[in-house]
Amino acid sequence: MGIIQKEELEKIQGSMDDKESTWIKVGMATCGIAAGADKIFNFLKTEADKRGLNIDVRTTGCIGNCFAEPLVEVKAGGKQLMYTLVTEELASKILDQHVAQGVAVAGSAYIDSADLNPGQMRIALRHCGIVDPESIDSYIYNDGYKALRKFLTESSPEGVIEELKVAGLRGRGGAGFPTFMKWTFGSRSKADQKYIICNADEGDPGAYMDRSILEGDPHAVIEGMMLGGYAIGASKGFFYVRAEYPLAIRRLQKALDECKAYGILGDNIFGSGFNFDIEIRLGAGAFVCGEETALIASIEGKRGTPSPRPPFPTDSGVFGKPSVINNVETLSNVSAIMLKGGEWYGGIGTEKSKGTKVFAVTGKVKNAGLVEIPMGTSIRTVVYDICGGIANEKKYLAVQTGGPSGGVITEDYLDTPISYESLGELGSIMGSGGMIVMDEDDCIVDIAKFYLGFCVDESCGKCSPCRIGGQRMLGILERITDGQGEMDDIEQLKKISKAMQKSALCGLGQTAPNPVLSTLRYFEREYIDHIEKKSCRAGVCQKLLRYKILLDKCKKCGKCQKNCPVDAISGDRKSEFVIDQDKCIKCGLCVTSCPFDAVIKE
């Protein structure tokens, strides 16, 4: 197939009308497949054929309501419903009742598609769960590559940047730098070759919107990248994707191949004279490569260690050439903005933080999943209204935004409207959009230790403040959670934090102390309890636990004694059973072995 013409594009855009009348879509992102969506998909396909039902069974990406996977959306008989937690039994009923007879499956959990995602506004995720990520036609049908064609043939690179400026989009990867400014710098650099790079090395442990977008709507990102390439004068783009995301890589590669076949990638795209090519480069398991200069080193096939800036990548990036780096969600927003206009986008959100933001709301929340909300929505709305609040009727403790570079938001600040500025003021950051909900069973010191441990593991090791500072801070936190802490440790933590913030080379090292500083700011009491009282409120820190045998409940069966691996329980049937705290290794076997719930931890 040669270069796709305007008429052909429009033909595709019109051709799917018939096919759109009835269909079944199965959410087939990594998490859906993990929940068994692939089995359901195959089942539906075979069974529909067997029953002679004339219905198109398709795959689609992450629908967002990940807690209820597998998800199956059905449009038939004038009804469009989303079935949740679909089993083969339910799938069979869907075919028999909904598809064949046009009635909703009674007694099953479903949501009317019109009522999906209340409180949300889907821009970056607009096609996730709607288009077939493995079909360029499906994307084109949903107005795909329309904006690209328009700007390439009717506008100018300046026009793209101007539109972006009006939209006020800021980088969704973490720091929130205005995207139009980055592109302006890139466009002003003079060079024979420039690059635009999509950072898809999503590393924040607890954020997965980039994976979902690539798995669910790769073309939206490709289109955004091409618009960026056009704007800055780059003829080559790189996708830097985590190797841990095989499905995303596969779908992205398929999307690129389709673009090439349609002539959407290649030379003289849409007859505009614009040439563009995209290559996929894989990450290899290094969180620090999310940092722009480290990512550049990695694309060049080297260790992903950051370099000092300046020179900034927009002046000297990959192979010394000007390079603009944008994150997946940013580029997905770009293609939407160029289609619907900067003014439309700029009308959403707060004064300084425009548009929407995708959050991966996970942890101790009832309905975990991806939500996309207009900036300015409160954290309370996200956690309680959209995601159903804390699971298992537990008490809210905090949410962590910004992952290992962020901080905690306590109950007092739940009504804070989300924006780059407001989160910054609370000592956290927007970050890439992880929102981890913690409840009363979580220990805040342990959480800080978890994040710091992550940063220590992922430190590149190049600069001493981060390499040694992080490792020593972790040592101090381990001491505290082991009951060996001293009050001076808190001062030491602050001192090292300061040095790291001010002298680490890159963002990873500079922000690595944030979770510690943030939790110290809001939960210093918990630190002090660990240090002075040797107690962990949540009962998470094993070494601070004390197991005790309740004498009034104990029936002297001796099972705990038998199960104790270190012979820490003394006594016999005639006397009392007592746990020797010095010998006890806090394994908890006595608790599980007691038939009378007479052993407790305190």
Binding site: A286, R303, S307, P308, P310, P311, V456, D457, E458, S459, C460, G461, K462, C463, S464, P465, R467, I468, G469, G470, Q471, R472, G475, Q492, K495, I496, K498, A499, K502, S503, A504, L505
Partner: protein, 590 residues
Amino acid sequence: MINVKIDGIDVQVEEGTTILDAAKKVHVNIPTLCKHPDVKATAACGICVVKIVGSPKTVRACSTPITKFEEGKEFITRDAELVDIRRTVLELILADHPNECFTCGRNNNCELQKLAAEFGIREIPFAQNGVDHSADDDSTKTIKLEPNKCIKCGRCVEICQNVQDVHALCFIGRGYDTAISPAGEDLSLSDSPCVRCGQCSAHCPTGAIFEHDDTKLVWNLLNDANCYTTVQMAPAVRVALGEAFGLAPGVNLTKKIYAALRRLGFNAVFDTNYTADVTIMEEGSEFISRFTKGTAPLPLITTCCPAWVDYMEKYACDVMENFSTAKSPQQMMGALIKSYYADNMKLEPSKIKNISIMPCTAKKYEVQRDEHMKSASAEQDVDIVLTTREFSRMLKQAGIDILSLEDEEADSILGQYTGAGTIFGNSGGVMEAALRTAYELITEKQLDNLEFNDVRGIEGIKEAVIDIDGIGVKVAVASGLGNVHFLLEKIRAWKEAGSNPETIPWHFIEVMACAGGCIAGGGQPYGVQDTKRLKRIEGLYKDDADSEFRSSHKNPMVQKLYAEFLGAPLSEKSHHLLHTTYTCRATYKK
């Protein structure tokens, strides 16, 4: 030019100047631990952070260039907060460093120790037991790695990979486990492509890379009444040793060193400059023979530098035919002492122990490179090599106040040298010495201007065309192994195109592994950078200019050697004692 302020002082700098260098212009030395003028800033240590007025961020002075966007900006290089941050970073580095200053090879000249002293570190708050990344590696017997002392500044890796193009050292692992190491697990340096140039050790700020110490062996030999100890000193040592005794670089201590060596107890004191002259006779004759008679392929490439020879054997085996077969001056001296001198003195060669004082760590390897290094007896021609640094320590151990000694002369018959011999110690010197002799031997005319300025200086590659009897002799001089690639590629391309003599890129090539030549060798006193290189070179050219004889073939003692012992250059005896062969070697032994 850009105008900025450093701590309130106006300074005008060229665009691209770093804040560190701009500060130097107004006499502010911002402390730094990882930056070295010889290598690209790695920005690793985090000590040199400074503030930009009006910005909440701190930046690294070593690697932040002042560009046109900085016009009018002010930088703060010191205040309570900065000093505090720097101290904390330093405390962290020290917390991760063994507390072994007393027993460390760099005690008293360690850059980390110096900074700790300046910052008045009195306790190390974040200390943690068991700093132990990996075991020491003394496998090369020339350069010793002590990874526990490494502060990961990256200088050695920069030098080994980007300056020297050897790629023996690299960073292994990530994060807290990052270590400098050869490429592999459980791989020692001697299994790697290391050419022992020692530039890593010369640039290491701490005791993590250090020359293998042989001083004890030498003390033992000096004490051994059965031994006849002879010593030779390389050209470059004389203009650098003074730095270890507080002198400026470039001060020539030749005659005081002779005196000091006698005080140490050596039975005979010789000068490698003498065999440098012999080298010219051999290598120069080889060139003349290849050039005028076509006895072997051109270009001819010099082989005085053992690191270069090792590099060629590992990485450029294909140009082996172009290598001069002449041994290095050190090895010629060793061979002549145990043959010519032994004959003269009626000494049993096996009783003689040859020690040499070299600016170089690779010379420790050269003495045992292969069987050719045992040409005069069953023993090695040269027994032990001390670097300039080891030698300076020996002098201090002996309490010899070298600067106050009366001048003395070297011993006959291997002591007298010409100006041509002494400039072997700097890049371009071997070429210049060879040209002086070749010109006169080929043309049989007197050379009026002995100074070949085109091949002088510290540029990595120098080229010149010298008119010898109407023929343009094309020469090239490279120093720093990283510059060799350029030469090799041109030669290879020329060979591939059919080796047309008309289009030969060069007829004669000199290579020294270390930038600037042996004066900045891996065994020289610490703190080398271009300003010092130039001073040391100046010292050698002055020695040359002040010499009675300035061409090797005019050295009366060299003439005597050929008349009495060798016969003629390239004679059979010469070949046996003064020439060698080469072998292709694997870059990795495992």
